[in-house]
Structures are given as structure tokens and as C-alpha cells.
Amino acid sequence: MRQDLHTLAGAYALNALSGEDLRRFEDHLSHCDSCRQEVRGLTETTALLGTVAARTPPADLRRRVLEQIATTRQLAPQPAAEPRPRGWWRRWGPGIALAACLVVILALGGIAWDQHRQLENYRTAERQVAEVLAAPDATWTHAAPEEGVSVTMVTAPSQERLVFSAHGLERLDEEDYQLWLTEGDGTAHSAGVLDVAADGLVEPMVAEPLTNMHAVAVTVEPRGGSDEPTTEPMMAMPIEE
């Protein structure tokens, strides 16, 4: 089966895999150094196939592109320690790679002590939250996906749960923020919509179960939430094993 999967490197470099084929190959790729090496060389090769199809674009295109970039904000750079690439991002379409530019991860400690305190306070109010926070293996992750927004996630594999909280989110008029747990193959499970208070504080939410879940993501969805994500995540964080 390994060998069988490995021979898909050519099809992958040609962007000729979709759906389940793509998911399985990317999963394989994530722990196969020699495959990544091969895919890299083959992708350089297909790029040359692309360049020989070059033709002069319409003159008008240059002006329009330059006008558009003048009003298009660039994505922020990623932190140096990039999380291990996961298969799930591709399933949601090419745009998610760009959304991922916004994702700033693993700013451990220091950033969001106010949330830390808020979550601590919350212990008494919510039993499930308290259990996660009190678990011996509870791991705290803070991130600032955008300026003014901070996110805190506490994972407790022993409890099969995590707690998600955020501060600084803009309240939406027509839509809701929805929290998802995503599997390695991109399947997303809703953990409900975020309850954003007027001051931008999100009530801590419990999401479960964690088994097989690779990441937590937040998308903007029509009011009340969707059965599956319909937009690119505005933030995403890997769940550390």
C-alpha cells in the first residue's frame, strides 16, 4: 500500500489528485521525507511545463492588477516555527493556505494573561471547563491571529476536551463565528457558535472529543452556524498531540 501511494507522487505534482486520493496522498506525504523530496523535484519540473505555455497577457491586465494590489492588504508573515503541515487545509480549497498566513500560532505565555485569569475565574461556573483546566495534562496555548484579537485554548487529552476562549473579536451583525474541530482528512465537526459579548469577550466553550482531531478552526458562518464550514477559517490552531 505504501508503494502504491508513493507512485501517486507524479499525479500529485501534476495537481491531478482530488478528493479522497488527495487526502490519502497528503497524509502519506506528511510523514515521508523521500516523497516530499521527490514531489519537490517533480513540481519544479511541472513548473517548467507551465512556463513554456507563456504568452503575452492583455495590456490592460497590468493596470488592473496594480490598481488592485494598491488596495489589497498583504497577509502577515508566519512565525518562524511553522506547525507541521497537515492535510486538512487543502480540502477547504486553495484560499485556506492564504488564510493560514493570518494564523499566528504558539505564542506561548505572556500574551493573554487576562484571558488566563478569566478562564481561571470561570472554573467555578462551569464544571466541564473546570475539569479541563484542572486536568493534569492541560496545555495552554495563546495566539494572536490578528491585531487586537487574542485566543486561548486549553487542551486536556485525558478529558477528551478542550476549552476555547477569545478576546477582541468584533461582533457580527448578520453572521456568527463558528468553532470547528477538524480531522486529519479535513472533515470538520462543529463545536457550536461563539457567544461574543459586547466587549469582544468570547465565553469559554468546550469542544470534544479530541481523538483524531488535528486542529481547531474558526469560520464566519450565516447566523446560527452551518453544518460544515462554508468559508475559509479566519483562524486555526493545530492540536498538539
Binding site: G10, T43, R62
Partner: protein, 200 residues
Amino acid sequence: MTEDPAAGGLHSLGAHTGQQSDLDALIRTVARGDERAFEALYDQVSPAVYGLIRRILRDPAQSEEVAQEVLVEIWRSACRFDDHRGSALSWIMTLTHRRAVDRVRSTQASSDREERAAAAQATLPFDQVEEEATSRLERERVRRCLDSLTELQRQSVTLAYYGGYTYREVARLLSASLGTVKTRMRDGLIRLRDCLGVER
């Protein structure tokens, strides 16, 4: 490469030339918000971006629209380029190819399939290319290497790459087994890679 760099365009973006690392450096400057650098980048890569999209979509208006999306996306996500994963050229062409293929797979009716298949297999990309956009030498080199593939390898590679077909569709179009097609794609690309002297 011995071409005249003053000719402009893409002519020496081959994977083993000095231009390659120039493009890498350029995109890092673009990532810092430098619009002038983006203009230079545009001039270097837009013929390849537009040409590949046009090759796959064929419709000029749609091609222009997708090319604009891709070029703006390059600006937006320049920070995403990571030279450990490959060259800037390969990053740009992969983004371009994915966008074009997403469009072709979502919009083109299956009745269009045979026509697309025929177009993808023709050796046209080389003849259609306008002279100033890519060098004759580079095209000759790629054509020569494509010619060195077996018929089935060449068909599998060009149907997927220029036709935007998945490997399952390619197997159906060629009445070949999935196993055969996936092997031919890989073997074909490996042979192309070695023939073109692509660095690994």
C-alpha cells in the same frame, strides 16, 4: 543560458539558472509590501501565469479574470513563499495551475471534455506562444524532452497538466488502468526532470 536578458519576460527562468534565485529574492521584497518590486515581478511572471491559465481554460475572458486573481494572490500571500519547499517559480506556477484547474473543474461541462482532451494533447503550446514571452531555446528544450517520453507517458502528463484532468479522468480518456496511468505520470515526470536537468 545564453539568451539576451534584455529581451525581457520569462526566457531564462529555467530551474537551474541564476534568474531563479533572483525571483526568489524579488518575492521576498514583495512580501515586505514593496509595490515597485511587485511590478518587476509582474513583468517577469505574468506571461507564464496568463499563458498557463489560457492554455487550460482557453476562454480569453475567463483566463484574464483568473490571471488577475492569481497575480493579486501572489501579492497578498508573498509571505507564504518558503524557499525550503521549492523555487519561487514553482510556487507561482503551482498556485496558478491550481487556480486554473479549480476553475476548469467547476465550470466546464462534461460535453466539453473531448474538445479539451484534444487540445491538451496537441503540441500547440509551443506554437501558440508569442515569441517575446518565452525563449525559443527553452521551448525547444522542453519539447525535446517531452518527445523523449513514451506516448502513454506524454499523454498522461499533458492531459493532466494542460487539460486539468484528474488522474482518474486521464485513465478513462486513455482507456488505461489507474495503476498504469499513475505509473506513467510519475515515470514521465521523472524522465522529464532528468532530461531538463532540474535540480532536486
